[in-house]
Assembly symmetry: C2
Homo-oligomer: 210 residues x 2
């Protein structure tokens, strides 16, 4: 922070990385400042020195991570592609982003569920809400043009999100009941990029309402 020299990881960054790991694994209530310090290889007092309080550090991380989750998606939707390609990219990117950090969705959903008020701060600065608006316009345009069957943007959005995200959220339980090791599970998720997209797309282009 002080000078311009390249440091692999400043203390501040080491603490942030460690805190992300511990908070996403244990949650706000389950995390311990001592564990964050140990994970970062620094003294517990340093954690307070840089981030003041546990609550403050947590909110810091929560906001940062929610924004990351939505950023990639926004870029896809704004791209110059056909509707079908956007939907396929949407799904593929969503799965790829989450694969980088598979514990993130459960972390975010869980903490948002325990303290919904925190969402209001995070969703101020346009990001997610803007993405939703963009998606809504796209879908309604396609429906009005008769390119896809009649469907609300909400239904489509929830279907896509459900199919992409749930396998990460339910991973331990699914892996257990389906007797899959880590590699099998990764392969399964990888293959879903294709199958989810096919499921969604086929549904959209089929005539259902007479």
């Amino acid at each position: 922070m002080v000078d311009g020299k390249l440091q692999d990881h400043s203390t501040e960054e080491k603490i942030m990385d460690a805190a992300i790991k511990v908070f996403t694994q244990k949650g706000l209530a389950g995390a311990r400042m001592q564990e964050i310090a140990d994970e970062a290889g620094v003294n517990k007092a340093m954690v307070h020195y840089y981030y003041r309080s546990k609550q403050n550090l947590f909110e810091n991380i929560f906001k940062k991570k929610v924004k990351e989750l939505f950023r990639a998606i926004s870029i896809i939707l704004a791209a110059d592609k056909s509707f079908e390609d956007k939907v396929r990219s949407f799904i593929e990117t969503e799965i790829e982003v989450i694969s980088q950090f598979p514990t993130l969705p459960l972390f975010v959903l869980n903490e948002a569920g325990k303290n919904p008020a925190i969402l209001e701060e995070v969703f101020e600065e346009g990001g997610p809400k803007q993405m939703i608006g963009l998606f809504k316009m796209m879908v309604e345009h396609e429906v009005n043009q008769g390119n896809i069957r009649t469907i609300s943007f909400e239904e489509l959005l929830i279907n896509i999100m459900s199919l992409c995200i749930y396998p990460f959220v339910a991973r331990p339980i699914l892996q257990f009941v389906l007797d899959k090791d880590d590699l099998d599970y990764k392969d399964m998720i990888e293959s879903r990029k294709q199958t989810i997209a096919d499921l969604i797309i086929n549904d959209l282009f089929i005539k259902r309402d007479q």
Copy 2:
């Protein structure tokens, strides 16, 4: 417990009900024995008197709830119905059961994620694994008969679970970004009984593999 007289709620039951409420809202780490006692309207010492320790009370509840979630489904699958009707009943029942206790899925998924070892105890006594086996046989039979397109039972199971459960898990965040009040959200979920079933069924009966 002692005599046969009907009591609306014995102390033991009041504590259990209170503990379910607090644990499902706050999680294991976030729950407080004092809060459970207050919620039950009894003294904190009584909670320990009946259930010994926090950990013990928690595991008690966790196991009980996981079994409840799978019981209804097992009954559906064993019923004497066509495959399509079973799938439709499966979806409808799953949504209805969870609607009775909407915070349950996130609770179970979250705690299973934090301590996967707990699953091994719960899934001993046949229930869930048996249900999976039944479902697997059903799907493979339909595929072999050529009644539905080629699909693995795992893919189908995960798709159905995802579409049914995710809206409950992500409720706070979805309700927020979609600007829905509680009633709107309930209506939306209710309508999904039909739309999810249509999506799944249409996919199964379509020829995709040439």
